[in-house]
């Protein structure tokens, strides 16, 4: 954040030359920055993946597939052919029936059940219950009901990124987790933005004793052990994860306030603002034409760098077991669950980490790009 301030100090120093809008110039420069453009594309794709993905995914994020607990990622459909007979055998064992014959043909199966006593047709539910099979129906009854032939469909599912320790599709969970992580990142940033800008601008405009007092207060807050407060907030608001991040945003505005105050103070003294004042432009006009455009730069940079910070913080909380309420999830929760299984099921950490790191990378590149774009010395 500090480097953001520095760069934009200079930005504030030179007002936009006539004829070119500051924004248009910045935009042009930004588009020239390949890393930032790539970052934006990646971010857009991931956001789309997370927002739209759960609607397109065949698996609800909280659906527990009891047959597929901790399945490794695979391009092939589950169940694997080799596992079918075993799964059927297990189901029948629970029904206390013998499996006489079992065959799979394409997407349908046929199984012959045998017992010493007549078999209750209800027993097909043992088969239906399995995630591997669907629509079992009795096609033949032999031996006065002691032998049943059951046919049905093999239920094929795709788990591209495998399933987690509770038998839920990891990819869908990554999408839903991404929604939460991005949401809390944006939300907390927004809250800190609103408070920070308001506080900083007031302090900057008022100046003098008010400014002094307000900034002393910020200094006091800076000395608070932040982690401790976050933990307490979680204990208070544990019910509502979004609320926690609103609260975190309410604690994280200090940097923003400092930046905005500094900018405002500096801008107030600028010749072009004073000139505008002398020309009789009202406060509103000065704000709109001079202050806000010049504040925009540092604020935008702040935002892009704040979001990844919050997402990291969320993951830290998740590691401490203070994450979002199950069955909802977040990238932080997924990664910390993965970290516990790093030896036995590495894919559980690899996939969420890819999305997590890619997003943070993208945000950082965009932030850097924006900062450079808003830095006019490069011209």
């Amino acid at each position: 954040m500090t480097d953001g301030t520095l760069a934009t100090d200079a930005a504030a120093a030179k007002p936009a030359p006539a004829g070119h809008s500051l924004l248009a110039l910045a935009m042009r420069r930004l588009l020239r920055n390949r890393a930032a453009v790539a970052g934006s594309i990646v971010l857009a794709l991931i956001t789309l993946f997370c927002v739209a993905g759960p609607w397109l995914s065949p698996h609800p994020y909280d659906r527990v597939y009891r047959s597929y607990v901790a399945m490794p990622p695979s391009l092939e459909l589950y169940p694997k052919e080799s596992a079918l007979a075993g799964a059927m055998g297990e189901a029948l064992e629970r029904a206390r029936l013998a499996m006489a014959d079992f065959s799979v043909d394409g997407d349908s199966f046929r199984v012959t059940l045998r017992s010493d006593r007549p078999i209750d047709p209800r027993n097909t539910r043992y088969i239906e219950r399995l995630d591997e099979f669907a629509d079992p129906r009795v096609v033949e009854t032999l031996d006065e009901g002691r032998t049943l032939v059951v046919a049905g469909r093999v239920n094929r599912q795709l788990f591209l990124m495998g399933t987690d320790r509770s038998g839920r599709d990891l990819m869908t969970r990554i999408m839903v987790g991404g929604r939460i992580s991005l949401l809390v990142g944006l939300l907390a940033t927004f809250v800190s933005l609103v408070i920070g800008v308001a506080y900083g601008a007031i302090a900057g405009f008022a100046g003098g004793r008010v400014d002094n007092l307000m900034m002393r207060f910020v200094d006091v807050l800076y000395s608070l052990p932040f982690v401790f407060f976050v933990i307490l907030l979680v204990v208070y608001f544990g019910r509502d994860f979004v609320l926690i991040f609103v609260a975190i945003g309410a604690v994280e505005w200090l940097d923003m306030a400092r930046i905005v105050r500094g900018q405002t103070l500096a801008l107030k003294r600028r010749e072009f603002v004073q000139a505008a004042e002398a020309l009789g432009v009202g406060t509103g006009g000065i704000l709109r034409r001079h202050i806000v455009p010049n504040l925009l730069g540092p604020v935008v940079v702040f935002v892009t760098l704040m979001v990844p910070k919050i997402i990291l913080l969320e993951s830290f909380l998740s590691f401490l077991g203070l994450g979002v309420q199950a069955p909802l999830t977040s990238w932080g929760v997924l990664i910390s669950e993965g970290a516990a299984n790093i030896q036995s099921a590495p894919y559980l950490i690899i996939f969420p980490s890819i999305f997590f790191v890619a997003t943070l990378f993208a945000l950082n590149f965009i932030g850097d790009g924006l900062r450079d774009a808003l830095d006019p010395r490069d011209r």
Binding site: T2, L6, V220, S223, V227, I231, A339, L360
Partner: protein, 306 residues
């Protein structure tokens, strides 16, 4: 400078007072108490405990009592780790955390500045991009991922380093935790140094020096002096981030520092331990920020003590 230092230290007193007050009431209003255990206690026993720890007194009495003791340097007894007073626990744990934190800070500064300068001097080369990519990875990968990976690779696969514990406090035990803790901050510092170094190299006085044909390392030294300022002003936030990181790192590497007290204290509602940790850290932050400001002033002739 002395008066400035004294004034800053004096002005820390009200700051600490506010922190103590806020923290005291915050922990008290959290649901549950230190004696809500998985195996519940008989009501009579609970009464005895509350009496023994003066928890049966009105809250403002407890608060004044606590303040009074705190002023005399008494942090009170721990409610959960009852064999020790909070003062003892902090005194015992602090050296581990400080050792770990300072080595991580040193590593982050030296490693980060070196990498940043290296990248800045080769701006837009392949070396620059790879250093910056690694640095960005450092910022983005949580340290609770880095730490187990280090343990797996260097502890279990290569068998080079012990996986956990402080042992004799030797380098072997300290190496992995220090690196894991320093990595994210090292990455931030590298990025900071790079951008400010590039800026500094473009400055007029450096160009003049260059034009006058001074050797390269002299120019770098001059440029670095200015380029370090943003790094130094980042040290405050860096120290705070190290504190947060140590909570994770100390847990994973089983290091008996105060990182655990933070979380455990809050989760166990060990009121006095939480308060002790908060006060210690706040004091630490105040002193550290002062040091940073002094260092900043020493490097930047424009800053004066006013």
């Amino acid at each position: 400078m002395l008066t400035y230092t004294l004034r800053r230290l004096l002005s820390a007193a009200p700051t600490l007072f506010v922190i103590v007050t806020v923290a005291f009431f915050l922990v008290r209003f959290a649901p549950g108490g230190p004696f809500d255990l998985e195996q519940p206690l008989a009501p009579q026993v609970l009464d005895n405990l509350r009496r023994a720890y003066s928890l049966d007194q009105p809250l403002h009495v407890q608060y004044l009592d606590y303040l009074g003791k705190l002023v005399r340097g008494d942090f009170g007894p721990s409610y959960v780790a009852i064999d020790f007073t909070v003062g003892e626990m902090l005194r015992r744990a602090l050296p581990y955390s400080v050792t770990l934190g300072l080595s991580a800070l040193a590593l982050a500064i030296f490693g980060g500045v070196a990498a940043g300068v290296f990248a800045a001097l080769r701006q837009n080369s392949a070396a620059d991009y790879s250093v910056m990519t690694v640095a960005t990875v450092g910022v983005t990968v949580p340290n609770f991922v880095v730490a187990p990976v280090l343990q797996l690779v260097f502890g279990l696969m290569l068998g080079l380093l012990p996986i956990g514990g402080w042992g004799d406090g030797g380098l072997a035990h300290r190496l992995m935790p220090t690196v894991a803790l320093a990595l994210p901050q090292m990455a931030v510092i590298a990025r900071l140094t790079r951008s400010s170094m590039i800026e500094a190299l473009r400055a007029d006085h450096i160009r003049t020096l260059r034009a006058s044909g001074l050797p390269g390392h002299v120019i770098i030294r001059h440029a670095l002096k200015g380029a370090l300022l943003p790094v130094i002003s980042y040290l405050g936030p860096a120290a705070a981030a190290l504190v947060t990181g140590s909570v994770v790192i100390e847990k994973i590497f089983a290091i008996p520092g105060i990182g655990a007290y933070f979380v455990e204290g809050a989760l166990n509602r060990d009121y006095t331990l939480v308060m002790g940790t908060v006060v210690t850290l706040a004091g630490f932050v105040v002193v550290f920020n002062l040091l940073v400001d002094l260092a900043y002033a020493a490097l930047d002739p424009r800053v004066r003590y006013d």
